[in-house]
């Protein structure tokens, strides 16, 4: 059974139809790519999946249960985490606090316990700190835990955003152009890392990428979005040679035969 499934998802902004007929499914453990030219509606689709936008029509099911109309925090608590195309870290907070905030939904102590600073508070805070640092270590960010996140180099900010999303303990992870602004070496390392965290954290990942050559090597299946519609779907080999996809990307500086 698909862990996440949409059907006939539509989003209109006034007269503009940003997404129409968006039908995808993600099976458990898959690493799936969502590609398409700029303005195709990829981010809008993510915003619907995470509750930031309410779909104009259509359905979204997470493990068989509809999540349409739920608040973003409810959807996060049910197991969908995401990163943003334009990094949205808590810039003026430390690296470790960024991660700790993502653990908040699982904090058991109440407001009064926090104010009285009882043993339960002390123990749980110590545990959160330790878990956050352990997670940062995986992303090689633990030595910067007390730096303000805005002072990290760009690539590390992207990694921190992924770490923070993982701290919410998701089943499905949505990554919106995680390689944007990275050089080829950084991009290559990032793609390796994404595959690794999928295996390590037993996740299902949907990855948006504008530059299709990047996802060809890591994704098992790929959806292609153009003008708000899914125009192709299949394994990387099929996508690469699909005439509709080539047409959609015509005029864009993309080398479709790139092995990357």
């Amino acid at each position: 059974m698909a862990i996440l499934e949409t059907s006939n998802l539509v989003k209109t902004f006034g007269g503009l139809t940003a997404v129409s007929k968006f039908d995808i499914y993600l099976n458990e453990g898959e690493l799936i790519g969502l590609i398409g030219p700029n303005g195709a509606g990829k981010t809008t689709a993510f915003n619907m999946l995470t509750g930031v936008y309410r779909p104009s029509s259509g359905s979204i099911k997470l493990m068989g249960e509809s999540i349409v109309g739920q608040k973003p925090y409810e959807i996060t608590q049910k197991g969908i985490a995401r990163t943003f195309q334009n990094i949205r870290l808590f810039k003026d907070l430390t690296v470790v606090d960024n991660v700790k905030i993502a653990y908040h939904q699982n904090v058991k102590y109440g407001v009064a316990t926090g104010i009285l600073q009882t043993k339960q508070y002390v123990d749980e805070e110590a545990e959160i700190q330790q878990k956050a640092v352990a997670l940062l270590k995986i992303f090689n960010l633990d030595h910067k835990k007390n730096e303000l996140s805005k002072n990290l180099p760009y690539g590390e900010q992207r990694r921190l955003e992924i770490a923070r999303a993982l701290a919410t303990n998701p089943k499905v992870l949505l990554l919106d152009e995680p390689a944007a602004g990275m050089n080829p070496q950084e991009t290559h390392d990032l793609m390796e890392m994404i595959r690794w965290i999928r295996d390590q954290f037993k996740l299902t990942i949907l990855l948006i990428e504008h530059d299709m050559s990047l996802v060809m090597n890591v994704c098992e299946r790929i959806y292609v979005l153009d003008y708000g519609k899914i125009i192709a779907h299949g394994c990387p080999e099929d996508i690469r040679t699909n005439p509709k996809v080539i047409e959609a990307y015509l005029g864009e500086e993309v080398d479709l035969s790139a092995e990357n």
Binding site: V52, R88, F90, K91, I101, H104, V111, G114, I115, T168
Partner: protein
């Protein structure tokens, strides 16, 4: 961490004891004792508004309204209803009651308006403050426009100081807890906070209600200090004054709020004979800070012992 807390508590107790001794022995005269009491009261008001505006990033202008609610309702308890209780129980009980009434009003207003974005809250709380004031102008039971007279003078420096220390401790501990981090994340980026699984409406309302509660407590202290409650004591300009303390001290800096509360209360006394001019000076100060240093003098930083040790280390280096 624990050592710091110990130093803080020891320091707070020492200051309280010394000042109280000086007042009791007459070294500090009643006029200055009252100013010190007002400084403590404004410290409660500024830190509680900072929890809403600075920590959670919601722009409230309604603190005078919550203060009025707390002031009137605590005075109703001590003045109108003669409960057979000793003063030392009656007074804190009435403050608690005033705080709870203010908190309840904060909840009723916060729930619908905090769902909306920033400016709406500012307008709604500004309106709320005025509505509350007008309500007291027309409420005969509490003296209407003539004000409520004959309130017992329970407030003194010691009470106010102790309550201020506890209020600040509660607010600081809240901020340091995971719930406080949730509030801070809303200030930093509301969409990201929501995406991290934080029920942003819940935490905005929570910060607002806690802030309103302490404003109500401070209102009760005020009523039992001045012994006369008049609707005009709670105009919009009072909210502006408290806001100025928060902005001056730094949105998000608790120690900054306390320092600014002490400084501006002192300034207010110094400028008492120019009271019209004072409001112009305050308004100008607010505008200048907003233009040139919107994060306030301290920003979100706190005064700390580390700051002094850094300073002395620098001095040592310079000597070498």
């Amino acid at each position: 961490m624990n050592k710091k807390k110990l130093i803080f508590i020891t320091g707070a107790v020492a200051v309280g004891v010394v000042v109280q001794l000086l007042i009791s022995s007459g070294v500090i005269n009643p006029y200055f004792a009252q100013i010190l009491t007002l400084m403590s009261m404004y410290a409660i008001l500024a830190t509680s508004l900072n929890l809403i505006n600075g920590i959670t990033g919601q722009f409230s202008l309604g603190h005078a309204g919550f203060m009025a609610l707390g002031g009137y309702f605590s005075a109703i308890l001590t003045t109108k209803l003669a409960l057979p209780l000793p003063n030392f129980l009656m007074f804190p009980l009435s403050l608690l009651f005033g705080g709870l009434v203010a908190a309840a009003a904060g909840f009723l207003v916060g729930l619908p308006t905090l769902r909306l974005r920033g400016d709406y809250l500012a307008i709604a709380t500004l309106g709320l403050g005025e509505i509350i004031r007008v309500m007291f102008v027309n409420w005969k039971y509490v003296g209407a426009a003539a004000g409520m007279k004959g309130i017992p003078g329970y407030t003194n420096f010691l009470w106010t100081y102790v309550i201020a220390v506890f209020s600040i401790l509660i607010i600081v501990n809240f901020i340091k807890s995971s719930h406080g981090r949730a509030c801070i994340s809303i200030r930093e980026d509301e969409i990201a906070a929501e995406t991290m699984g934080i029920n942003t409406t819940k935490y905005k309302v929570m910060a607002f209600v806690i802030g309103a509660f302490f404003a109500g407590v401070a209102g009760g202290i005020f009523g039992h200090l001045i012994r006369l409650l008049h609707p005009n004591s709670f105009t919009f300009m009072v909210s502006v004054e408290i806001l100025l303390m928060v902005v001056l001290g730094g949105l998000g800096s608790i120690t900054g709020s306390i320092a600014a509360a002490v400084f501006l209360t002192g300034l207010t006394e110094a400028l008492r004979q120019f009271s019209d001019l004072r409001m112009i000076i305050y308004s100008l100060m607010l505008i200048v800070i907003m233009l040139f240093r919107p994060q306030g003098l301290l920003g979100t930083r706190e005064f700390s012992l580390d700051m002094f040790s850094k300073f002395t280390k620098k001095a040592e280096k310079a000597e070498r």
